[in-house]
């Protein structure tokens, strides 16, 4: 007998059974993987942040009700039914975690990085956020407050990072390219 320690075989068997039952097609699976690769991803979140940097009214709307603010974009990927955007300021730095599993707003941030799902990150960033951020290379001023936000199945968070001075005169495309996924989680700055 195969054992649960054979996940690849079990996954292949699952896929075959679902195809056999007519619940899914191999082409549909391939299409979704392509979708995640090409259309869903942190580029969406970066676009939102770049616009918020340039458009004060949009930024206010984003901080008030992010789900409504991004609705016109019609991002695919889902899991933004209740999206909350938290703003970094010189006084406050925000960082996001999911302490229970890996809740993450796919439509604006793509697939979560491996370390986001790691038990060490999930537990340590709550207990000792400054130390964890330092391991990411982010050394925060001791006077700056750190707020840790716990994403869940109900509410998912994205960080609105501060715009660095070097991007003040940059065009939107340059700004978008500079906004890394990890800045949307809050473990680095732009």
């Amino acid at each position: 007998m195969t054992s649960p320690s054979d996940p690849e075989l079990r996954a292949r068997a699952l896929e075959a059974l679902l195809i056999g039952k007519g619940l899914i097609t191999e082409a549909a699976i391939d299409d979704r993987i392509t979708l995640f690769n090409q259309r869903v991803g942190p580029m969406n979140g970066s676009r939102v942040v770049a616009r918020a940097w340039a458009d004060a009214a949009f930024k206010a709307e984003l901080l008030l009700d992010a789900t409504a603010a991004i609705a016109p974009y019609q991002f695919v990927g889902g899991q933004v039914d209740k999206l909350v955007v938290v703003e970094n300021t010189p006084e406050v730095h925000n960082v996001v975690v999911c302490t229970l599993c890996s809740c993450y707003p796919l439509a604006v941030m793509g697939l979560p990085p491996k370390w986001y799902k790691d038990p060490a990150y999930r537990s340590r960033v709550v207990r000792e956020p400054r130390e964890v951020l330092a391991e990411f290379g982010l050394m925060l001023n001791p006077d700056r407050e750190v707020r840790v936000w716990d994403s869940s199945a109900e509410v998912r968070y994205m960080v609105l990072p501060m715009m660095p001075q070097r991007l003040a005169a940059a065009d939107e495309a340059t700004r978008i390219a500079a906004i890394h996924r990890d800045a949307l989680i809050g473990v680095v700055e732009v």
Partner: protein
């Protein structure tokens, strides 16, 4: 924390699928596709995944492999919904294990691509 290595990847890697093996990516999209098709609410899968991970974390003698838990959470939910039973899954997995390399199609060839005559 070795898992933190590589976080300084350049922005061009934004959105890269973060899977260690192709089956992990396929299981992820299967779960979302089944939910979208109405087989189960996504919240039910989330609950199953949380239970599975919590059960693992109650133990200390097994390595943590996220997508193993993801798969088992999905299988648990599908069994509960009587969509895929553990027995038929085990049987097919065992059959796949016996197949020689390169003979891994355990389903009919009706998946939108042609195969050369053989």
């Amino acid at each position: 924390m070795p898992e933190l290595e590589g976080i300084a990847a350049p922005p061009l890697l934004n959105g890269e699928l973060d899977f260690e093996a192709p089956w992990q990516g396929r299981v992820s999209v299967i779960a979302s596709a089944l939910s979208d098709a109405g087989c189960f609410p996504w919240a039910d899968f989330q609950s199953s995944l949380i239970r599975t991970i919590a059960a693992h974390e109650a133990k200390t003698d097994q390595p943590y492999r996220y997508y193993d838990h993801f798969l088992e959470a999905l299988l648990s939910l599908l069994a509960q919904k009587q969509i895929v039973g553990e027995g038929e899954l085990q049987s097919l997995a065992e059959m796949l294990k016996q197949l020689p390399p390169g003979r891994d199609h355990a389903h009919d060839h009706d998946h939108d691509h042609d195969h050369p005559a053989h």
